[in-house]
Amino acid sequence: MSTSHGTATAVDIAAAVRAGERSAVEVLEPYLAAIEARDAELHAFNLVTADEARDAAAALDRRVAAGEDPGPLAGVPVALKDNLCTRGVPTTCSSRILEGWRPPYDATVVARLTAAGAVSVGKTNLDEFAMGSSTENSAFGPTRNPHDPTRVPGGSSGGSAAAVAAGFAPVALGSDTGGSIRQPAALCGVVGVKPTYGLVSRYGLVAFASSLDQIGPFATTVRDAALLLEVIAGHDPCDSTSIPQPAPGLVDVLDRGVEGLRVGVIAELTGEGIAPDVARRVTEAAEALERAGATVGEASVPAAALGLSAYYLIAPAEASSNLARYDGVRYGLRVDARTTGEMMEASRTAGFGDEVKRRIMLGTYALSAGYRDAYYGKALRVRTLIARDFAAAYERFDVLLSPTSPTTAFPIGDKAADPLSMYLNDVCTIPTNLVGDAAMSVPFGTGDDGLPVGVQVLAPALGEVPMFRVGAALEAAAPGAAAVRPDGEEQP
């Protein structure tokens, strides 16, 4: 971006605001102006909360003036995926079924961001209930890729990825169930992190698949992503699956380099089905790490290839149960009918989009008496198998490497009619969710089409420290990252 604020990082902003060198209001305005100028085209946001943001920024400035320290994200504008509960602010999951619903509480991550001085600028678009890989499954229309508005930004956190790539906010939060942070990060040329399952509280994240969902940051730099993750991570007594440990220190490890780290390139995720230009970038990334002092080898995770099938049984199974509560009884859309049962059916029929219905049906079937063991049960056994293979690989390597997405951003409408080819987009990212490990996508050059490519760094559970060290090294070595088209200029 060529706008004056576009290169500012969260780290810089917070430092300047905490020091009283810049006001939070001053920081905020150019972002709001950028949203005003371009979001009608990109549709990264479902809702822009400009007034609330201005009030929050002004309040922060008063605190700084009074000698207070608003915290490590002082004055940093942040965009929130619209499946994170925000008190009093509509939270839609890009679904008609949540029409009019305003949560009475903040998600833990939202409360932590606010407590750290961040300023929310709005709620970003997503595939309905986070089900999708292109943000085309939104009830409110697709989000467009800032690098090429005819293309998808990836998904499901496409709105957050696009918002950061377009300079609408320096950082954003998304959620990742099968790649929903990493894949759009790759397609939009930004950093995206899926933390270890349990590192970040899920309290207030509207559930898609509870055993897979995890909240994580988007940022333009690895350092900003580390800062954001430090703020939102750490034990939360409101989430039983939250790991009872404090947040790890990440910003401080970024300068340690990768000397001595063992990096394995996953053989099963770099061959067939991966576009050659994307695969080439992964090879270059491995070479760059080797030059930086890491030892690089080929890793094998045979069961990883089974991840996709297991995922499309486990995630829909959990979703079919998680989404049962949208029945028209208590909140959201209600379509009146003669009986309670008919009212529920009519509300759900009208309120859910096709992909959500497809997955509810898949999941319901997978859990049904007589089929449960053959489908859901078998998927759970595959999940164990994948975990075993990853554990074996991590005995030899500290981190693993693969593409984040098999291709660069594809044209809007290209795969919308073919769910299977859409699902294949997540082949590299899904295994991490099934195992509960950590992974991040770091921009690493472009494909033959000039669009961003992301390289995925995978680490074992709670392996965020080596993962971020490798992420920082890749960022430093990346071939001239794709520049975003300045507003008003012709597409190259």
Binding site: N83, L84, C85, T91, C93, L98, W101, P103, P104, Y105, A107, R202, Y203, G204, L205, V206, A207, A209, S210, S211, P237, C238, D239, S240, T241, A317, E318, S320, S321, A324, R325, D327, V329, R330, Y331, T339, T340, G341, M344, T364, L367, S368, A369, R372, Y376
Partner: protein, 491 residues
């Protein structure tokens, strides 16, 4: 473990065939915690609708459950009290749509319950197996306006979610019960255990104790189980007994007329005195159980289990056994003493030297009053000693005992204050002889052969002696004296 006493078999009045009724009970009890199972909302009955709610128990999007440690503790305590194995356990989701269930699934323990394989011993010595006792969350409560209070024809429905998420323990009994009476005794005994362990306040009328009965019948001697029906809506022990008797009769009638039993849920209609069909099992829901991913496995460590064991109070069966041994009677004879919580008093009074049968008798018949449990056992022992020594008549002892309750005073003081002293034998003989002389006609009849008349006249003579002696005479002594005089008169 089943009881196959001949007395519980049912003989058909029409065919003369002999049937056995087989009953298994599922009891839901609300755990007596301060807060709900998965959130910090108060677990309290009778509050304004929808005041004890939060995002978690309303199942709002994004909310997550956190297990209540106290609920687990109470469930484990109950498990130990029922002799169950306490296991590492998990929670599952039971999926079905119903408006009183905020998430449209119920979080319940399914294939890995906390307690398995226990037994409940009833006062009559019979033992009923416990398959499992697991934790789950309660649902909200619907009120249907119009249409006779049913959801189908209601004008509108109101839902109170105060009860949603209240912790329950479901105690699944094995089909070891053979009669309505035994079923009632089982529920009473279980209630005693729930109260003793503090697991539940177990009030059937407030719904904190709910009973469903699985009833089937089979020809006497058969070892196969018949097709069962599950009876719901049993709001009292009386309903339970009536429903079982009705349902057994209905099934026997069907089978004897060559029809078969449909496995189904039936609802007890208290006013109509009958069970009515509900959902049949063929059209029953598929609950699509799977492990609740928002909760982690529950693995109580040895220290926790040891603390639970250490906190276990004496249970009704143990208390019955202890008192029965001290009194030299059968455990079934002291069931009432234990159920009223007066076994401690009785035991202490016996240990203080009180005559066991007199102590048990007073506790059973004369102490069903408030404050009885606070009696000084040594006072009770002293009272029965005075009675046994003849210093107090039975009637006087009863009066003294009534005055002891709540006053803390000794029986000696009360008796002295009232001027109670037992009559000496000479005075009593004089009173009886005086009366015989005054009522020659009645006495002649008393000495006659008509047993019925004699029985009636015994009461007359004793009453007259009591009147004449202002209640100082001992009724038993008077009867004995009358009989002796009659024997003498008849030669």
């Amino acid at each position: 473990m089943s009881v196959t006493d001949d007395s519980v078999l049912v003989t058909s009045p029409t065919t003369g065939a002999v049937w056995e009724v087989v009953i298994g009970l599922e009891v839901h009890a609300e755990l007596h915690t301060a807060t709900k199972l998965f959130c910090a909302c108060p677990n309290s009955f009778g509050d304004e609708p929808n005041t004890n709610v939060c995002p978690v128990c309303l199942g709002l999007p994004g909310s997550l459950p956190v297990l209540n440690r106290r609920a687990v503790e109470l469930a484990m305590r109950l498990g130990r009290a029922l002799g169950c194995t306490v296991n590492d356990s998990t929670f599952a989701r039971k999926n079905y749509f119903y408006p009183d269930m905020p998430k449209d699934y119920q979080v319940s323990q399914y294939d890995e319950p906390v307690n398995t394989d226990g037994v409940l011993e009833l006062p009559d010595g019979s033992r009923v197996g416990i398959e499992r006792a697991h934790m789950e969350e309660d649902t909200g409560k619907n009120t249907h306006a119009g249409g006779g209070g049913r959801i189908h024809d209601a004008d509108y429905s109101l839902i109170d979610y105060n009860r949603a998420g209240v912790p329950l323990v479901e105690i699944v009994g094995r089909p070891d019960i053979r009669s309505a009476e035994q079923a009632k005794a089982y529920v009473e005994e279980l209630r005693g255990v729930l109260l003793a362990t503090g697991a539940s306040d177990a009030k059937m009328e407030e719904g904190s104790l709910r009973v469903d009965a699985n009833v089937s019948v089979r020809p006497a001697g058969s070892t196969e189980l018949g097709t069962r029906c599950e009876i719901k809506n049993l709001n009292s022990l009386r309903s339970l007994g009536r429903a079982i008797d009705y349902e057994a009769r209905r099934q026997i009638d069907l089978l004897e007329s060559g029809e078969r039993i449909r496995q189904e849920t039936r609802h007890w209609d208290e006013e109509g005195g009958r069970t009515r069909p509900g959902r049949s099992k063929e059209e029953a829901e598929d609950y699509r159980y799977f492990q609740e991913p928002d909760l982690v496995p529950l693995e109580p460590d040895a220290d926790w289990l040891a603390a639970v064991d250490a906190s276990l109070p004496a249970l009704p069966a143990q208390r019955r056994a202890r008192l029965a041994a001290a009194a030299g009677v059968a455990p079934g004879d002291v069931a009432l003493h234990v159920a009223r919580g007066l076994d401690g008093l009785a035991l202490a009074a016996i240990e203080a030297g009180g005559d066991p049968s007199r102590v048990l008798n007073h506790v059973e018949h004369n102490l069903a009053v408030e404050g009885a449990e606070a009696l000084d056992p040594t006072h009770l022992a002293e009272l029965v000693r005075l009675e046994a020594d003849g210093a107090l008549t039975a009637t006087q002892a009863k009066t003294v005992l009534a005055n002891m309750v709540g006053s803390g005073r000794s029986p000696g003081d009360i008796a002295a204050e009232r001027g109670f002293e037992a009559m000496d034998t000479g005075a009593l003989e004089a009173a009886v002889d005086e009366l015989i002389a005054a009522k020659p006609d009645e006495w002649a009849e008393f000495c006659g052969d008509d047993e019925r008349k004699r029985g009636k006249l015994t009461g007359f003579f004793v009453g007259q002696v009591m009147k004449a002696t202002k209640g100082q005479a001992d009724g038993k002594a008077v009867t004995a004296l009358l009989d002796a005089r009659r024997d003498a008169a008849r030669g």
